[in-house]
């Protein structure tokens, strides 16, 4: 992995702290279910209904390969894989989130091809590797 920028390092530290705090109380999950519709360790603004709207745009189905950029703990990439049967790769910088995504994929029996620690500036994938890409609340 190439060196992270200052902004990426700050984001990394912020999210690492968020994941640690989050693991200390189930209240965060309860709030997320009330606000988003499910608990995925997300703290953004994409609800389950909005994730389903993204799904309709992506033509996902079994054997299709989806990349979730800035996936955090796997939202919405793992959710979309669960809903459609597609294969998914999740990518983000904070390792804590990727580890949580790994555990979630295992526990739900989802076909996750990989959890990749990478910034969006330095993806370690070959050209044309994916059928679809999703990201939410990652600034372009």
């Amino acid at each position: 992995m190439k060196a992270a920028s200052k902004d990426e390092r700050e984001t990394l530290a912020d999210f690492a702290e968020r994941y640690r705090t989050r693991a200390s109380s189930r209240t965060f999950d309860e709030i997320e279910r009330a606000v988003i519709g499910e608990a995925w360790g997300a703290n953004g603004f994409t609800t389950v209904d909005q994730a389903r709207r993204l799904l309709l745009k992506l033509d996902l189905r079994p054997k299709r390969r989806l990349l979730d950029v800035g996936s955090g703990c796997g939202w919405p990439g793992l959710f979309l894989a669960r809903e459609t049967g597609c294969d998914v790769v999740v990518s983000d910088l904070p390792l804590d989130g990727l580890e949580m995504a790994n555990r979630r994929a295992e526990s739900e029996g989802l076909k996750m091809l990989g959890a990749v620690a990478s910034s969006a500036r330095h993806f370690p994938f070959a050209e044309g590797s994916f059928d679809a890409i999703v990201h939410v609340d990652v600034i372009c």
Partner: protein
Amino acid sequence: MLRACRRLLRPEGQIAFATIAIAPDLSKKDHRRAARMGPRSVSSTRPIGDLVGAAGFEEVEVTDVTKDFVETLRAWFKAFNTNEAELRSLLGERFDERQRGRRDMIDATGEGLLQRLVVDARAPSD
């Protein structure tokens, strides 16, 4: 990042994303306010559809979901206040930081400074 995504997609592959953007056609003063009130790194002056097109995507569609965004922001804000005692003990000063951030974004959208957009597009066929 959009160019990197374009490179990773197969021909006719699809991208869909939700993002927060500064509203178009703001004065310089309001643009600065929007950047300050929005999430970190929100600062582009170009419309998101133009950025996606410039990255090589086709069939770009942009849907404004700001109304849903405000509802979600309000729901986060209310849920945190409902659980304030526990969350304050866990988060300390960050409780106030997070709530202030949400309040700023609620105000900024109300003033027309920020938008939340869902964008979808397709990679070219060759």
